[in-house]
Amino acid sequence: MPTLAFKRITSLWIIVVLVLFLSAISMGILMRFAQGSVSPMDPAKFYVLMTTHGVTMIGAWAAASILACNYLMARYVKVSTGLNLFALIGTGVGVALLWTSTFSGNFHAGWTFLYPLPFKAGGGWQAAAANQFLWGLMLLSIVWLIWCLGMVWQILQKYSLPQAFAWQHLSKKEPAVETPPLILITMVSLVGMIVCFITAIILLAMFFSESGWGLSGKPVLEAKLDPLLMKNLTFFFGHTVANEALYLGLAVVYELLPELGGRPKLHTSWYVSLGWNCAVLFILTAFFHHLYMDFVQPQGFQIVGQVASYLASVPSVVVTLISLAAVLYGRGFRWSLPSLMFLVGAAGWIIGGIGALIDATISNNIILHNTLWVPAHFHTYNLMGNVLFALGFFCWVADDFRGTVDPRKHGLKLVLMIIGGFGFVLMFYLGGAYSVPRRFAFYPAELTHAQLFATMGAWFALVYSLGLLLVVLNVLKKCFLVFLPQRS
């Protein structure tokens, strides 16, 4: 059971994540209105917002997913308040560096910062701003690497390494030690995260080998590193971190959904174990689909990219979707806001996955690569998937802090989020299908439909935010209450 201190650090984290989320959403809405020419923006300013929005969102929800798993892990293993406090402080410093580099240093190379763009600003920003941004990421990678390693260590205090991966379930029907799905999924996802933070650290070190290790950096006159290698590393990191975050979110759903609806716990079986072990392997090679349009990339990797992207969806559907169906089917399930968020989140995850698979098909990628189809599908499984998994957890945990349960559905708030969220991403899909490029601060006059989609997208996002705000204010209030002296 979580101690009071652990509850407090968890609610502090939730407050930070929600504040970051709300501010990054406002940046998103400003960007979409700018693209719709409702409130045009200087491109440099637009890209400052875009860079900050991307890195903040990915970071906030990856952290939220890690945090949620750690809180629930406390049911099975010993967790540490100190570790999460360390992660929070480290993250705070990292975010401060990132935001200073963008808002005050004007750094705007995009959150995927493809080499050598950070060093070729064309006067847009100084070497110091680039190094500050890269250091912000470096710090986050190091701190989160330690965070994830710490959690793996917590798991390994109770389970042996093979048990943590639930391998004993592969051969035995009812092994002596059962690995709960939460532990299994958290473990495999953390391993993925660890691999990806190590990659990030190597990648960033390669940047620093040219721009110097100081915070002030130095101008890079000749960029000598291999841009193809750097691009592979960048997407290995960026793609993987986003996907593992989603998997951690699913771990929460496995743990909480049955319980919230009054159903028996989900158990690990051989296919759950096999499915999750495979999923992580596939996801580590699927990132190659980001380089389909680099024809110099070895062709074998391109094929691996498409095959792995397809295969990664098989365990998800065959194991997770069917297990969820078995939980829900015909049983007088008790719905409340968190469980409804999990359900809608699973839908967003699957629908975003369909969009991703279409784009991961090389022959489609020719006309979809770097169009709005890309933000379309990842916003679907982030905004309508990962965010809802974590937010569902937030709503549940804010009550769990005081041992209460809110049985209400809060249907209206959720409906606002559903209409707003899916409407917002639909406008991205329409733009993407009809060739509107992503990351355009304004659209060429010939792309007549682009502006209309952008403006409508912004309005939908406002509807989403309204529903969200109503939910979040309630959660925030309960999180603050944990800091008052507690009666016991």
């Binding site: 050598p116 095959v307 078995a326 049983r331 090389i362 022959s363 006309i367 299908a433």
Partner: protein, 187 residues
């Protein structure tokens, strides 16, 4: 149906099926009486086989259409050398050095390509990563490749419709990115 409309329609249909599945789940979960999910194991196996079969078919249909395997056994009628840079494209029929010292602009200032014949673009970049995306006169994306420094991507294509084609950059290259443009004509 244009490939663009096809992709959108396919997605909307699949997404609707996905949504219908979840709505169905919600409805059956609310009914107070009723059986649980029966024969879960069989359903799981069926889904697995179905998915694998669909993916196998999709892979065998779509992989051969990948750009790497198209127009490989033809001799391009014309070759265009392209160097992308913040925020423009330099194009010539003759190869030129990255520093442009021997750059020869095309006659009349505009690259002109033959309709109905395979052509090749050799695309590189002088500074950062850029995109090289070809839009037709209706501003539909026709095909594309990346422009990466130190590397040359060879994009082969055959333009069946004469007209003016516009180039847009599809890899973010800093603040001039949305204004980066090029063009050529097909006759």
């Amino acid at each position: 149906m244009s490939p663009h409309t096809f992709i959108l329609t396919l997605f909307l249909i699949l997404a609707a099926i996905g949504a219908a599945f979840f709505i169905h789940l919600y409805r059956v979960s609310c009914s107070t009486e009723g059986p649980g999910l029966k024969k879960v194991g069989a359903k799981r196996l069926f889904t697995l086989v179905l998915l694998l079969a669909v993916f196998l078919i999709l892979l065998s249909v779509t992989l051969p259409k990948s750009p790497y395997y198209r127009f490989t056994d033809v001799v391009p009628e014309k070759t265009v050398h392209v160097t992308a840079m913040q925020y423009t494209y330099m194009m010539s029929y003759d190869a030129f050095k990255p520093d442009m010292s021997d750059y020869k602009p095309p006659e009349g200032g505009v690259i002109t390509l033959p309709a109905g014949k395979p052509v090749e673009f050799r695309v590189t970049s002088a500074d950062v990563n850029h995109g090289f995306a070809i839009y037709n006169d209706k501003f539909e994306l026709v095909t594309q490749t990346q422009a990466m420094p130190h590397y040359v991507n060879r994009l082969r294509w055959q333009f069946d419709k004469p007209g003016t084609y516009t180039l847009l950059c599809l890899e973010f290259c800093s603040s001039g990115h949305p204004a980066m443009r090029g063009m050529f004509t097909v006759k």
